[in-house]
């Protein structure tokens, strides 16, 4: 069990004293009684043989609530990610959404001969360039338009909004047709081999654009660059920046004129943006800048719950309930809209509402919108 021992060491799982705090906050444990983060760590310590085949490691949403709560700072999510690559080696594969279409797409993008045309979202009124100081990383946001066509939400709108914002602030962001998926889903479903190939391609593309800063709208992409790329490739040679941070900078340098919007909105902290990257205030400040009234949900900032699915591999009965609870919470705040930054959160919340539900409609029919699109509305 050398690989697992090494993993336990890296993530400090040995320090776990089974206090049970993590299990109390874990959204999955709340619904699925058999699941408990602690249980998995204890089994790992005992060096249990069949651990890699354990079904539960695929139920963990890696939302990081337990990390946040653990008094002994056990990096439980990293432990699960390591365990998953072990599980894959032992042939215990997850049942992924859409039959694993996203994972397949990710692997295909590692092929060197691929000539993509992923910039179809760049409409004529947007100014983008081959090279530039700021590189705008889009990842798979545009691809979800087609994969989840039946949910009628255009995630590519997020990219258009972001470029509009940058253009109005005089920035012509660099984008590239050879950019590939950041590899987040492959990394979190135990496929490190292809994850590294994607990383190499992306780093090469960004180096070619000569950018100093790379802007992200998608928190999963940013977290993957911030932690996983640096973890493997060390210094990336550029700074990683979230769109909300950039917007606030531009407003400070008053390069960005915008008018105010009215209405009451609430904000859902995506796990990767909040607990993983620790960015809580920038989004809120950005929303406040728009003049709209921001009301906080009961569970917000590092306490906000998860959208129920991560890396398109953990969608289960519990995911649905989490989404409904979260939407009820948002509705309760009286906000007209729930904003979030992550295209995946948007997709999963939409999944639980696009179908009519007997007796539930009015409690969950709060519209969901991406914060970047919301902010871009201030520019008209």
């Amino acid at each position: 069990m050398s690989a697992i021992d090494e993993l336990i060491e890296d993530t400090g799982a040995f320090d776990c004293v089974e206090c049970g705090k993590c299990t109390s906050v874990c959204p999955v444990a709340e619904i699925n009684s058999e699941f408990a983060p602690r249980l998995i760590v204890v089994k790992a310590q005992a060096g249990l043989e069949g651990l890699a085949k354990e079904k539960d490691i695929w139920s963990c949403l890696t939302c990081g609530l337990c990390n946040d709560m653990c008094p002994y700072k056990v990096d439980f999510t990293e432990f699960i990610r390591g365990m998953r690559s072990e599980a894959v080696i032992h042939g215990a594969l997850p049942v992924c959404s859409k039959g694993g279409l996203l994972q397949t797409m990710g692997r295909i993008m590692t092929s060197p001969e691929l000539k993509q045309n992923r910039l179809s979202w760049v409409t004529d009124d947007l100014k983008v360039a081959e090279k530039g100081d700021i590189y705008f990383f889009t990842g798979c946001t545009a691809h979800f338009d087609y994969i989840f066509e039946e949910r009628e939400i255009k995630t590519s709108g997020i990219l258009v909004a972001a470029v509009k914002i940058m253009n109005s602030a005089g920035i012509t962001p660099a984008v590239s047709n050879d950019e590939v998926c950041c590899g987040h889903d492959l990394n979190w479903t135990g496929n490190e081999e292809h994850f590294e190939k994607l990383m190499e391609k992306n780093l090469e593309v960004i180096k070619a654009s000569g950018a100093k800063q790379v802007v992200f709208t998608c928190p999963e992409g940013m977290r993957t660059f911030e932690f996983d790329y640096k973890d493997i490739a060390g210094d990336l040679g550029f700074e990683v920046l979230h769109i909300s941070e950039l917007i606030l900078d531009l407003i400070d340098q008053d390069k960005l004129q915008h008018k105010d919007l009215d209405g009451k909105v609430t904000f859902h902290d995506p796990c990767r943006l909040g607990r993983h990257l620790g960015i809580y205030d920038d989004p809120r400040d950005m929303i406040k800048e728009t003049g709209a009234e921001l009301v906080e949900m009961e569970r917000s900032r590092n306490k906000s719950t998860c959208c129920g699915v991560s890396a398109f591999a953990t969608c289960e009965a519990s995911s649905k309930q989490m989404q409904i609870e979260r939407l009820k919470e948002a509705k309760k705040t009286g906000a007209q809209k729930m904003l979030t930054f992550c295209p995946k959160c948007w997709l999963h919340f939409k999944c639980s509402t696009w179908k009519k539900f007997p007796g539930l409609e009015e409690e969950v029919d709060i519209p969901i919108e991406d914060a970047t699109i919301f902010f871009s509305k201030t520019l008209e």
């Binding site: 049942v95 992924c96 959404s97 859409k98 039959g99 092929s111 060197p112 001969e113 190499e200 780093l203 090469e204 180096k207 640096k230 973890d231 493997i232 490739a233 060390g234 210094d235 990336l236 040679g237 699915v309 969608c315 289960e316 009965a317 995911s319 649905k320 309930q321 999944c351 639980s352 179908k355 009519k356 539900f357």
Partner: protein
């Protein structure tokens, strides 16, 4: 005397087998008596069948094996009927089973004895072109496989007994008397070939070695024949370049006493020409005929393709007078007329299309059963009861009733079975034993142990694919523990071998690489069930229809592809799982759509079988198109028959008639159909077990020949009505055939119009003795005994003028009269006629309603928009969809008595469903994983059969649940379900992906590293 729930069938050909299977599956004990040592009859000698070019043995093998293995059918082969006593419902029959001196229970048909027997005898099965031994079996896949000692030639040397491993030889075996007690009898002894020796003078049969009969050519074409599929000249073994086919030898010839037409030889010759040209490259076939009688469903397409695509030469109007032989080369010289001048041509081979005559034991059977024979010693029947003889309780089917093709035979066999089972429907299930399978072995936790059986299928696969090489390759695949190849995997002895090997090697997966799973899948699944394996632990690789037959000119590529297909099947087999059996209730009633003669007969028969019948008619009266008919060809009073039929329907309380009713909606599955009817305005729903489609056809309103522009230009039906009312005056009558049929856009032949024209022409001559009648035709297709009336017409002075699509008659107005100009082929001049009446023979069209009905019943339509049956040859009266049957004009244009046969046949097939209370349901359905299902409802919305539905589970959580009986296993919900909570059993994602991966295996190159992959600048720190 009380009735007996058993039936005896005399004659084990395709007709006998079909009746036997229908009756045995409907709960009756069947005694199948055949005079020859094995069942299979004439069809077993065929290589291919028209019009689908199916290999005869391949489509018959499943029926052969099933009849041989059916627990309710007892085979009495090598037997003859000695004496019959009793009456309808209770017959006693004495049958002598002549000793074959081999014990049936011991002989496995291995054939060692034939190796050592010193006596060689000309093999009659192969028409004397091959030798067999004194101890023999008629053909490799024979059922029962027991060998027989031919007492005529055996010299009693004792070698076979010394060599027989199963010590099955019993020289002292004596004849056995059997007394059978049955409720009904079906007589189906088939036919015999006309004795061509009688034509020795004209055609030199038996004199010139290269003059052979069409059955002899059929044996040459067959893989088990003398030359293994090659056509050779018997004189010198050379491959003939030019082959002549002479039609109507022994038929349509009053001088030798056979004035009737044998119905099948035209199509038989075309098929043989096509297949001969396929087997011998460069062979050129040339058919000499009078009329090309391609009257059946898709026969004309076959005829046109033979002429245009395969380049077969057709010479019309040439009944070859004689054949002479060039002594040196033993080639044959034929003289014929082409384009008006005499031609003499030399051919390497001449094939005589021999006609059918009554079977040789017809007289004996007739005498024993007391049934009447017609003037040609065929069984005498009338058009209203095509399968009944003059003796109640004794029915007839197949060629013995009248020369007919295989679909007609099969339909009549099921029809006769319907009558027989109706007679003793009270005694259903009294003498039958339930079919049992050994208890299923639990293979849980076992590693896959796969057995692969690769088939030669005679030369169909083995001729192109190197089967032994495929077997060697398969042996190298992981998890394959046993692999072998067989000549015919579908034959009964190989089935037993598979069972035995499965047990010996304790296989838990079985793969057969042969033909299409569509036809042979269930057969092999039943075999492995016999070995205690769940039927879903089975996979087929189609290396015949989708490999050897379609890559004939690239044998090595075909072999590689066969290897790939078997590898893919093995990949999928590793992941196959056993599926539990599930049952469905059957409601014992039937809906019959269409109130014509076909529908009414079907309804009556359903009632007689003891089930409720709901007869739905679109219009306000029953009778359909037959309402416009008055008398039959032999003067039968159709009107009277129709009124009697309608009164029988009204007086039968088991039949409920719905007039002015259409089918609005239709759902459910076999045994549990639900139909929403619109009974003149108000809704009514019916629950029923089966559906019989008998919507009939309609008369084509001609757009050509100025129809509708002159009151004395009528269709045959209109004219028939006038004729019957005596309102017809005039001297000259002209009829034009094939109006709307056999055209570019509608290539099929409407089958009945030639006979209809002849009937009306004879009526005209009868009512107006001094009138002149002309019939302008393309081909006079009065097949079977109808040919005699065509002869009467010519004797009555009716003038026949041939035309074809290029030289159609031109119709024009001549004052208030009619003028017709037509080219007479013989005198090569235009002939002008000025008739008082012009009578058109219009095509029979499918109903427009067919399209919508097909949508509702989810059944396909054929190219010509009639309904497409499950199998053109062997399942003509049912659809692929279980529980939905078909009869009458809705299938294709046909005659009055043929519709009645098909109506009864459909009922007999329906009884195989209705007679069971519980039926095994389809087990490869979709199932939901309760824990993964997020209750989003997508599946409920997408399923056409409303099988999945959201259900409250415990803690208020909504979870989808799929109704086992409704689910069809189409798998649409499994794809729609985003998180993979629904899996379709037997077609799971991993099972299909394993085949994709296996198909891509040949591309096993390491993942394509970009040649110019630059080492990324960033050195990999951190982790190491």
């Amino acid at each position: 005397m009380e009735k007996i729930g058993a039936v005896m069938i005399a004659g084990g050909g395709i007709a006998g087998m079909q009746s036997a299977l229908d009756l045995a599956d409907s709960g009756f004990k069947v005694y199948l008596v055949d005079s020859s040592p094995t069942i299979g009859g004439a069809m077993s000698q065929l290589d291919k069948t028209f019009p689908t070019n199916d290999c005869a043995m391949c489509i018959m093998a499943p029926k052969l094996v099933e009849t041989g293995r059916h627990h309710n059918i007892e085979l009495l082969t090598n037997s003859s009927i000695k004496d019959v006593k009793g009456e309808a419902g209770n017959f006693t029959i004495k049958v002598t089973k002549t000793a074959r001196r081999v014990r049936e229970d011991k002989c496995t048909g291995c054939g060692i004895c034939t190796l050592f027997c010193p006596i060689e005898v000309p093999d009659s099965y192969n028409k004397g072109m091959k030798l067999r031994k004194a101890i023999y079996v008629r053909y490799p896949q024979a059922v029962p496989p027991t060998h027989t000692i031919d007492m005529e030639h055996c010299i009693g040397c004792g070698i076979c007994e010394s060599q027989c491993k199963a010590n099955a030889i019993e020289y002292a075996q004596s004849d056995e008397e059997r007394e059978l007690n049955v409720g009904a009898i079906i007589v189906s002894p088939g036919f015999d070939e006309f004795n061509l020796e009688l034509m020795r003078r004209e055609y030199g049969f038996g004199l010139f070695p290269n003059v052979i009969s069409s059955p002899q050519l059929e044996r040459m074409l067959s893989a088990t024949g003398p030359y293994r599929g090659l056509v050779l000249r018997p004189s010198d073994g050379k491959m003939p370049k030019k082959v002549a086919f002479i039609q109507c030898v022994g038929s349509r010839d009053r001088s030798i006493g056979n004035p009737y037409c044998s119905s099948v030889c035209c199509m038989f010759a075309i098929k043989e020409a096509v297949i001969a040209q396929e087997h011998n490259q460069g062979l050129q076939a040339h058919i000499f005929f009078m009329d090309m009688r391609a009257y059946g469903k898709e026969f004309d397409d076959y005829y046109i393709r033979a002429e245009q695509e395969h380049g077969i030469l057709f010479t019309r109007n040439n009944r070859i007078a004689d054949v002479s032989q060039d002594p040196k080369t033993q080639n044959l010289i034929l003289n014929y007329i082409k384009d008006g001048e005499m031609k003499s041509e030399e051919f390497d081979l001449v094939v005589l299309s021999v006609g059918m005559v009554f079977p040789k034991d017809a007289k004996n059977l007739a005498e024993k059963f007391g049934i009447n024979l017609n003037e040609f010693n065929f069984c005498d029947t009338d058009i209203f009861n095509p399968t009944s003889t003059n003796i109640p309780g004794i029915f007839v089917a197949g060629a013995f009733e009248a020369p007919k093709d295989i679909p007609g035979t099969v339909a009549q066999a099921s029809g006769a079975a319907a009558h027989a089972s109706a007679l003793v429907s009270g005694q259903r299930d009294t003498l039958v034993v339930e079919k049992t399978f050994p208890e299923e072995i639990d293979i849980g936790g076992q590693d896959p142990r796969i057995g692969v059986f690769v088939c030669h299928c005679g030369i169909n696969i083995g001729g192109v694919v190197d089967v032994p090489e495929v077997v060697e390759y398969v042996k190298t695949l992981p998890n394959v523990v046993y692999a072998e190849h067989n000549l015919y995997t579908c034959s009964q002895d190989t089935q037993e071998k598979i069972k035995q090997i499965a047990q010996e090697q304790n296989l838990n997966r079985v793969i057969v690489a042969s033909c299409t799973p569509r036809t042979h899948g269930p057969l092999f699944q039943n075999t492995i069930r016999g070995a205690g394996l769940n039927p879903y632990l089975f996979e087929m690789a189609n290396i015949r229809d989708q490999c050897s037959w379609v890559h004939m000119h690239e044998p090595d590529k075909a072999t590689d592809k066969a290897k790939a297909l078997v590898r893919m099947a093995v990949a999928r087999a590793r992941l196959l799982e056993p599926l539990p059996k599930s049952e469905i209730e059957i409601s014992p009633s039937a809906i019959i759509i269409g109130g014509g003669v076909t529908g009414m007969n079907a309804a009556l028969m359903i009632a007689e079988e003891g089930y409720d019948a709901y007869l739905i008619e679109k219009t306000d009266k029953l009778g359909g198109i037959v309402n416009r008919l008055h008398y039959g060809l032999r003067g039968e009073d159709i009107r009277k028959y129709l009124t009697e039929l309608k009164s029988k329907i009204d007086s039968n309380d088991k039949i409920k008639v719905y007039l002015n009713t259409t089918l609005e909606n239709f759902s459910g599955f076999v045994g549990n159909y639900e139909a929403e009817l619109n009974v003149n305005g108000n809704k009514e729903t019916l629950k029923t077990g089966v559906v019989i489609v008998a919507t009939g056809g309609k008369e084509y309103k001609p757009e050509e020949y100025m129809y509708g522009e002159h009151d004395r230009i009528l269709t045959q039906l209109e004219f028939g009505e006038l004729l019957n009312e005596g309102k017809v005056k005039g001297k000259e009558f002209v009829m034009i055939q094939c109006v709307g049929s056999r055209e570019e856009h509608r290539p099929y032949c409407s089958r009945i119009c030639c006979t209809h024209a002849i009937k009306n022409a004879l009526k005209i001559r009868e009512l107006h003795p001094d009138s002149k009648v002309y019939i302008l035709f393309k081909d006079m297709r009065t097949y079977g005994f109808r040919e005699i009336y065509y002869e009467d017409a010519t004797r009555e002075g009716v003038l026949f003028i041939r035309f074809d699509n290029e030289t159609k008659p031109k119709v024009s107005k001549d004052g208030d009269g009619i003028k017709i100009e037509v080219l007479d082929h013989f005198i090569q001049e235009d002939v002008a006629l000025y008739p008082d009446y012009l009578i058109l023979s219009p095509a029979t069209l499918p109903n427009e309603g067919n399209y919508d009905l097909a949508q509702m019943l989810k059944v396909p339509l054929s190219k010509d928009k009639f309904f497409l049956e499950a199998h053109m040859k062997l399942r003509p009266v049912e659809f692929a969809t279980e529980g939905v049957f078909l009869a009458g004009l809705a299938h294709s244009p046909k005659f009055f008595n043929e519709c009645i046969s098909e109506a009864n046949a459909a009922v007999s097939r329906a009884c195989t469903v209705l007679s069971k209370r519980i039926m095994e349901a389809y087990s490869a359905i979709s199932v939901v994983d309760e824990f993964k299902c997020i209750g989003c409802g997508t599946c409920e919305e997408i399923c056409e059969y409303h099988a999945p539905s959201l259900v409250e589970k415990g803690s208020g959580k909504l979870v989808s649940e799929i109704n086992k009986a409704l689910c069809k296993g189409c798998g649409a919900c499994a794809v729609a379900c985003c998180n993979g909570a629904i899996t379709t059993l037997h077609f799971k994602n991993d099972q299909i992906l394993s085949m994709v991966e296996s198909a891509a295996e040949e591309l096993k190159r390491e993942s394509s590293k970009p040649a110019e992959e630059a080492q990324t600048g960033a050195s990999t720190s951190g982790a190491d």
